[in-house]
């Protein structure tokens, strides 16, 4: 935590500084500086395997392995949860035990994964109740919250996880993260694979949730509708680097070109740095 803390006004929820993560000979995530505005929704856009999900995993501190800090990872990721929390944390300095003790992930930073990571042995209600009770929510309150969230995402309680379709699993994953009512929400392609009816309903729900000025949302998406309905701020990723970022209005032209298939390119790597090669398995 040695570097200067980024400026407060206008408040940034996340401030990424000198972030470098070598994931192998073919891919390096390299983000010298990136600010994610607080109380807004930021869309991470780019080709598949451009580093969007990798960056999102670092913002949520769910990268790497259960056993150890990811090797070849350096830099800083500052999280400012606002005046009410009174905390500015350098997330990469926190170990798994410290993160667990602070109960940062879940109650304060919600994460929706591409692979939902549902617990197949539990009912949809218990998939939500178990994590809530584990962080101290009373079982009766947790059950009530779980039922409310399932209702909001349009999922019946009676189903078993094993019988859920891909779209329904997405909805349960979303309901589970939202049940914590976190001030920061990280969404990794939450609306892909949904049928048009479910998609419309969930987009309305996310639109309502992200309109809350107290909530910061970062969403990885390839969908034009998601960007137009949800995003205030846009970050284009390319080969592990930030190619461009700015408000949605300022990025309007690039956005139009992006959805026509023209992806902004990141600037070339500095001399002496071989830079990232076309990635194989990071996304």
């Amino acid at each position: 935590m040695s570097a200067a803390v980024p400026a407060r006004a206008p408040r940034t929820a996340y401030a990424v500084r000198d972030l470098v993560w070598r994931l192998g000979p073919d891919f390096t995530l390299s983000v010298p500086a990136l600010d994610v505005p607080a109380g807004r929704t930021t869309a991470l856009l780019g080709r598949s395997a451009s580093g969007k999900s990798t960056l999102l995993s670092l913002l949520g501190r769910v990268e790497g392995s259960y056993f150890e800090r990811a090797p070849d990872l350096s830099g800083e990721v500052w999280l400012d949860l606002g005046e009410a929390d009174g905390e500015r944390l350098e997330l990469l300095a926190l170990g798994e035990r410290e993160l667990l003790k602070r109960r940062l992930r879940g109650p304060r930073v919600g994460f929706v994964f591409q692979r939902e990571g549902l617990f197949p042995g539990l009912s949809p209600v218990d998939n939500i109740v178990w994590p809530l009770t584990a962080v101290g929510v009373k079982p009766s309150d947790a059950t009530e919250r779980a039922r409310h969230m399932l209702d909001r995402v349009g999922l019946p309680e009676s189903r078993t996880v094993a019988t859920l379709s891909g779209g329904e699993r997405k909805r349960l994953g979303l309901a589970r993260a939202l049940a914590f009512e976190p001030p920061v929400l990280l969404l990794d392609e939450p609306l892909t694979g949904l049928d048009p009816e479910a998609l419309g309903g969930l987009l309305d729900l996310l639109s309502e949730l992200t309109a809350d000025p107290e909530r910061t949302t970062v969403i990885v998406t390839h969908q034009r509708d998601d960007v137009e309905r949800l995003a205030d701020h846009v970050v284009f990723m390319d080969r592990g680097r930030v190619a461009a970022d700015g408000s949605r209005d300022a990025m309007a032209e690039r956005l139009s070109r992006f959805f026509l298939g023209e992806v902004p390119n990141a600037s070339p790597a500095p001399q002496g740095d071989p830079g990232p090669q076309p990635p194989q398995d990071a996304s």
């Binding site: 259960y66 056993f67 993160l99 992930r105 109650p107 994460f111 994964f113 990571g117 994590p131 584990a134």
Partner: protein, 253 residues
């Protein structure tokens, strides 16, 4: 694999094992007793028929082989003494551990491997669920105590197997056989066998959990990790048997 990378790989694996044991120990005060009992039932009860039948037949075979050798010396009456001591000190802990490596070790590695592969472990981290408390500690401690309990069962059933063989083939009355077996055993024999069983349990449990919770990209890796958990545990059980025996004999006599 060159020697340097082999040593580095061994160091990495040893660190994983240390990490699992350290986490299981630190999480012990937080572990729910009900989780431990559930896992103990899964580990020990499910393996009991396999270990029990194996022990029964092993007891018979050892008694038969031993009696054939002793007959050449005219000492068949010693069969119960030799079978009981070898079962308690050596054979029951070893074959229970090898069976447990194949059953419980593979079960832990594949179950936790699916938890990792399906993204559940990552989702648990993302919701501040304590993986050490929920997954690691109950499984590690249940596997260790389960291995000890199953070794005790194997000793009892092995003795019964020897007793059956003695009565059927050698004409030794069951009461006489049991009396000789009990007279031949000293507390140090039980200490030696059960301490080894605990050590083997540590190896099987920590390897199963470590290979299960390692990152994996696909089902092929899960299969390889499961196989590695069994192979490495079996190998380490056999190697460490010598180490444990030397240490215990030096300490307890």
């Amino acid at each position: 694999m060159n020697p340097a990378s082999g040593v580095a790989a061994f160091g990495r694996e040893a660190r994983f094992l240390g990490a699992v044991l350290g986490r299981a120990t630190r999480a012990l005060p937080r572990m729910r007793p009900s989780d431990y009992v559930e896992q103990l039932g899964r580990v020990a009860l499910s393996a009991l028929p396999l270990v029990g039948i194996a022990a029964l037949f092993a007891g018979m075979v050892i008694a038969l082989q031993t009696s054939l050798q002793l007959a050449r010396l005219g000492m068949e009456h010693m069969v119960a003494d030799i079978v009981s001591v070898s079962l308690v000190r050596e054979l029951a802990p070893i074959f229970t551990a090898l069976l447990m490596a194949g059953k419980a070790g593979a079960g832990l590695a594949s179950e936790l491997g699916m938890v990792t592969l399906s993204g559940q472990a990552q989702a648990m981290r993302a919701m501040s669920l304590d993986i050490d408390r929920e997954l690691v500690a109950p499984r590690v401690w249940a596997c260790i105590t389960g291995t000890v309990l199953l070794t005790i069962s194997a000793i009892l059933l092995g003795l019964i197997g020897g007793m059956i063989l003695g009565a059927a083939k050698l004409g030794i009355s069951p009461v006489h056989y049991l009396n000789r077996a009990i007279d031949a055993l000293a507390p140090v024999d039980f200490a030696c066998g059960l301490l080894k069983a605990g050590g083997f349990g540590v190896i099987i449990a920590s390897l199963g959990v470590a290979f299960g919770l390692k990152d994996k990209a696909d089902a092929g890796v899960l299969g390889r990790h499961t196989m590695s958990a069994v192979v490495v545990a079996s190998f380490l059980v056999l190697v460490s048997d010598h180490v444990f025996t030397t240490l215990i004999v030096a300490t307890l006599g």
